[in-house]
């Protein structure tokens, strides 16, 4: 399982430590299979190493991946410029699966958690008419930490109910300030036909998913994150209890992981 060379076709800085790369295969015949929303790839910075990164957008054979610089590999990836080469393996894992229609969709994104949700949101917008309400709740650290800022207004025009909140405001911010669960009070009361998709830091996922379940959302899905070395189910690193996150996740039904997530250091 070797990485396939992809060229950085475009680079966009999202926040001070986060970059989105648009990657296209050098040879279309070697392109990886089209990733499902929610899946990830193992991105290879030549000679440095690999990191599991969620796919944050699709563009024909091109894939968008949003990377936050937290270590040597991810930092090298965020420094890649158009024309540079990056290796891609995948796609791996389970997807969000927005379904064929008939449901209300609720996306809850905390911080960089918006990146893995973005392809699912795009899919919901592309087939907007088959879904009921489509809602996106976004929580961010500060107004300056909101990724994909330019797109958010377009989502409203496309029929998505959008609500944003920040943990901490700067002067001039007139939007919501507070934890993301405070946005749930503004939702319509009948949530029994809703499928919720939650992504973000683990504590945010637990609090938000639990609150959604408490309010009667019957189907809550979350995206898990664990150390990954192979993406193939062989290296053993990504286990959470009985789940191999690369194989049984990263997207899982919240009831299946609520217990394991509550055990410290599992």
């Amino acid at each position: 399982m070797a990485p396939v060379p992809y060229r950085v076709a475009a680079r966009r800085r999202e926040t001070h430590d986060t970059v989105t790369l648009l990657l296209r295969p050098y040879d279309p015949a070697t392109a990886i299979a089209t990733p499902e929303p929610g899946q990830f790839t193992m991105l290879y910075a030549f000679g440095v190493g690999e990191s599991a990164i969620s796919v944050s957008g699709l563009d024909g054979e091109g894939i968008e991946q949003t990377i936050r610089a937290v270590g040597a590999v991810s930092t090298a990836l965020t420094e890649a410029r158009p024309g540079d080469v990056v290796g891609v393996r995948g796609p791996y894992g389970t997807g969000w699966n927005v379904g064929t229609g008939g449901r209300d969709l609720l996306f809850a994104a905390g911080g960089i958690g918006l990146a893995p949700l973005r392809p699912a949101i795009h899919e919901a917008v592309a087939r907007r008419s088959v879904f009921g309400r489509v809602t996106l709740l976004v929580g961010a650290r500060t107004p300056g930490d909101l990724p994909y800022l330019g797109e958010l207004a377009e989502l409203r025009d496309a029929g998505v109910d959008l609500a944003i909140t920040v943990d901490r405001a700067a002067a001039g911010w007139t939007g919501n300030v507070g934890v993301i669960t405070t946005l749930l009070d503004g939702l319509a009361p009948d949530l029994d036909r809703t499928t919720a998709y939650v992504c973000g830091p683990e504590i945010m996922i637990r609090l938000t998913a639990a609150e959604l379940a408490r309010r009667g959302v019957p189907d809550v899905r979350v995206s898990l994150e664990r150390n990954m070395r192979c993406g193939l189910g062989w290296c053993g690193h990504c286990q959470l209890g009985s789940i191999l996150v690369c194989r049984d996740g990263p997207v899982v039904a919240y009831p299946d992981v609520a217990g394991p997530l509550a055990v410290k250091e599992l």
């Binding site: 060379p5 050098y26 150390n227 192979c230 189910g233 690193h237 286990q239 410290k264 599992l266």
Partner: protein
Amino acid sequence: MSLVLDGLDPLVRELRDRGYRVIGPTVRDGAIVLGELTGADELPWGVGVELAAGRYRLRERGDDAAFGHSAGPQSWKPYLRPPRQKLWDARRTERGFEVREPEEEPVRYAFLGVRPCDLRALEVTDRVLGGGRYADTAYTARRDRAFVIVVNCTEPGETCFCASMGTGPGAESGYDLALTERAGPRYVADAGTDEGAAVLAAIPHAEADDGTVAAARADVAAAAGRMGRTMPEADLRDLLAARLGSPRWDDVASRCLTCGNCTMVCPTCFCTTVEDVTDVTGDHAERWRTWDSCFDLDFTHLGAGPVRGTPRSRYRQWLTHKLGTWHDQFGSSGCVGCGRCIVWCPVGIDLTEEVAALHAEGDGA
């Protein structure tokens, strides 16, 4: 139909003539380790072992058995999954980079002396590495090419518990040849495959009479009643899932050094990591896969630090995975009862004792 072999010289020669590299137990550095054998004389004739938690010593048996020992420091794992293996190398080109996967040299191993517990370990590993969506073809290719000679147990060691794990002391299938050692030394031999039968046919042998066969079977059956340890009778998957918060984990954590010896000697531990290296020019890169251990502090590194930062959590992970969640992930237990982890733990932690303690917590609680 069972045959009887007189000694093992012809068997080893026949295997080597057929192009196999024969791997079997041999004495080296004060232990019985696995090594390449050029002749049957290199087997540990008359050498036995004294085993206890955290203790391994060789001893003179006073007979001429070649397989009167157990729980050596390795399993067959290093031959099928080398501790360090190059996955590929790559060089930069105008079209990005070009990857070259190494040509697997066609090594054919004959494993002489595979215990039924270790045979089960091979089958468990087959499911982990070959039974999922992505198969580790480097492993499966070596495994398919390997010629497996099981030696049934007639003398379990002090730390053995294959009987309570359902993995021994005898094997019924999954081998090319199965031997049961008897005084002489003579071996009751059974073929499990066509190739096994062909090898037997090519070496001097005699037909085994019913009495000999029955006696051999009886010896193996009797061994089941002389195990040094037992795993408590309980649904271990459910037991461990229910004991994640037990104070017993703090108890074992006060002893465990997180050295990872258990994971190195365990025949089913499969965790690995990858290492990416580059040359000075930055134009050539290599990726190597190496054995890893869940006891390593960085094993679960995420963001700023490890998810399992305490020794308590890491020991709990190892045991609950091996005996519990392995069932959920791969459909069987990960433990085969070989007892190596008990012997080679420097502080003598005994997982059968730990499980018994966890099990006892439920009684009358």
